[in-house]
Symmetry: C2
Subunit: 390 residues, 2 copies
């Protein structure tokens, strides 16, 4: 039985980028650039008016100007501005030759069809200079940058309707257990519905991944081996739930070994989640999660999310916050570190009524899980505890 931090180390050592793919920019939220991005344009591309108004020369001290041209955004000016001359110009439009200042329309008065008078002097030029934000050829986004809305805008600006990003893993899901019925079925006596697969698909979706659901493997070697082989063939990461503890009918580990998976650990000193199995199959990895849904929820968050983040190049930010415990907490057995569901309130963390790792209903009331270190049996009200949002 290894510590959870050692388990995570093994998982991360065996989770590596899977190469790159080109995807539509508009589908790239949360993905990580696999190339440096250089600008093919100056931004602004030309000296640009930042206001609606009249383009003049800064040094021109005239009070009355003749309007010689209209310049809407997108038009290339045809005339050159000289003393006493101006062009009517719109926000975003290109400044004409000879002009280096825009007088805001609010500070002018039209005195005849083509005559304008300045009624209030301005010190600002109201011009954005060519290349002042980005120079042509400049490195604007480094390889490894995660794409948010602002990066998407920059990528569009420099002509990248498709972007090269680290490839997402294909993730296949199998639920094991002869006692399982699908959510659409009415359970027969002795059966319960399979909730782990739907939950895992939703957890993957949060990471932007459409999981591949392979179905329920009944508790027999051949059926389970068949599904596992299919998963190993189709996916980069195979996630099983159930069938990983010590009983006669729990043989996921044996099936994995029979399929050529090398088991790297098969027990972790953590509660819930002790019977978690992790193995590798070439460059692929296999997570054998416990059968109880709360264990699956938490172990996915602790172990699978960092693995996927590493594969796609994202930096997993620590989500821990420190909160004050709102009532005394005790546990019978302190031989493993533990995560326990809590509610987050303004004043701190309130432990929930929780029957154990099958009790998912308690988690629907939870905002987080608090960490209890190995060896700690009692936590007094007021103690600062580490909480992960969930």
């Amino acid at each position: 039985m290894i510590k959870s931090k050692d388990a995570l180390k093994i998982i991360l050592n065996n989770s590596k980028p899977l190469g790159t793919e080109a995807i539509a920019l508009t589908a790239a939220l949360g993905r990580v650039l696999a190339e440096n991005i250089y600008s093919d344009v100056n931004i602004p591309p030309f000296n640009r008016s930042a206001m609606d108004g009249f383009a003049i020369n800064f040094k021109d001290k005239s009070k009355i100007f003749t309007v010689i041209e209209d310049i809407p955004a997108g038009k290339v000016p045809e005339k050159t501005i000289s003393s006493g001359k101006c062009a009517r110009i719109m926000t975003g439009a290109m400044l004409p030759q000879g002009a280096d200042k825009v007088v805001m329309v609010e500070n002018t008065k039209q005195i005849s069809h083509n005559k304008m008078q300045i009624v209030k002097a301005e010190k600002k030029s109201n011009v954005s200079l060519q290349g002042e934000d980005v120079k042509k050829g400049e490195l604007i986004l480094k390889k490894g940058t995660k794409i948010r809305a602002q990066e998407a805008a920059m990528l569009a600006s420099v002509g990248k309707p498709t972007v090269k990003v680290l490839r997402q893993p294909k993730v296949a899901i199998i639920s094991t257990g002869s006692e399982l019925a699908e959510p659409s079925q009415t359970p027969k006596p002795g059966q319960i519905r399979n909730s782990n697969s739907s939950m895992l698909l939703v957890q993957l979706k949060r990471l932007g991944i459409e999981g591949i659901y392979l179905g329920i493997a009944k508790d027999n070697f051949t059926a389970t081996k068949q599904l596992v082989s299919k998963g190993l063939a189709q996916a980069d990461i195979l996630i099983l739930s159930g069938g990983v503890s010590v009983g006669d009918y729990d043989f996921v580990r044996e099936v994995l070994e029979a399929c050529g998976v090398k088991i790297l650990f098969n027990k972790v000193a953590i509660k819930p989640g002790k019977p978690t199995v992790f193995g590798k199959y070439g460059d692929k990895t296999v997570f054998g999660l416990p059968g109880n849904p709360v264990s699956v929820l938490i172990i996915f968050d602790l172990f699978v999310v960092p693995a996927i983040d590493k594969i796609v190049g994202r930096i997993t930010k620590s989500k821990l916050t420190s909160l004050r415990l709102l009532k005394n907490f005790q546990r019978r057995n302190a031989n493993r570190e533990q995560y326990f569901p809590i509610q987050i309130t303004k004043s701190g963390a309130r432990p929930l009524k929780f029957h154990g790792s099958a009790h998912m209903q308690a988690l629907t009331q939870a905002d987080g899980i608090m960490h209890i270190a190995k060896g700690i049996k009692n936590l007094k009200k007021g103690t600062l505890v580490n909480v992960r949002p969930i």
Copy 2:
């Protein structure tokens, strides 16, 4: 010119749920239940073994037991347990008649083919009682609950492979401006690439919405009116960017009015984002955002996100955090409240070098935007400022 909090009030008053839709549970992340969910089963559905071991009667003081049945998970036991008798039982399996305790396999010894001896006494029953987590008929998730992974698990458990949720709005996007080229095109002289549409599609994606992109409207009345009419016909929310300031060539407002849109405000005392227009068209709403991308980024976050959250029933959580300013900040004009891009470090908020609302490259360095109230020109290093992550 109205205050931003009044603008938001008007927006929220005109943003209402659009009815419900049934969607696949596995696609329901972040969606909000439009029905109360009652359980059609007890959870656990029967008295269930929490361990692999041997089912006996709690009162039976025998040391040696005869194994009369094997009960894997999913099987309905056939025999009744009486004194000196036990059944081999697996985690998750149904307890047989007469049994109310499971002795863990680790605490027993097999002494012959069908004889088991208890080697270590246990006080715990290792049994989860029928209905101890959820009773059949119980309300488990209330209308209005946002679906996370744990709610998905519960919905699967009670037989909801599809769920009734508040409908998402259809959102159409138009960029206006004759100076715009698409990201796939090389801009001609006087042109810049359209970055707002890609950015808005990514911002919508973050809310789980696939936006409908209608293209670029050139700066002429007929072309713009045609696209706006199309947007109003197809979508619940129409978002335009550009064409909303005061110049001769900026006529988005006139086009909207010609299409029958009732303008509810057309200027907000906020920087960036002053020329933001908001209107309604029956139950539909229209946002006319400024043309500059930084304004679009920020105004979408301040105004469009809360509108969509309200429509789909989500509670918008305040994302403000209070951070210490790491250097002096000053601005020339304090007549509007302002948001300014900053970097978040361990010690606080560092204002970025920022040329104004066209300077998106600065935002790729930003983790947040800090709020500066109207009337405040100078903020001293060390001041606590309100920051929104971005």
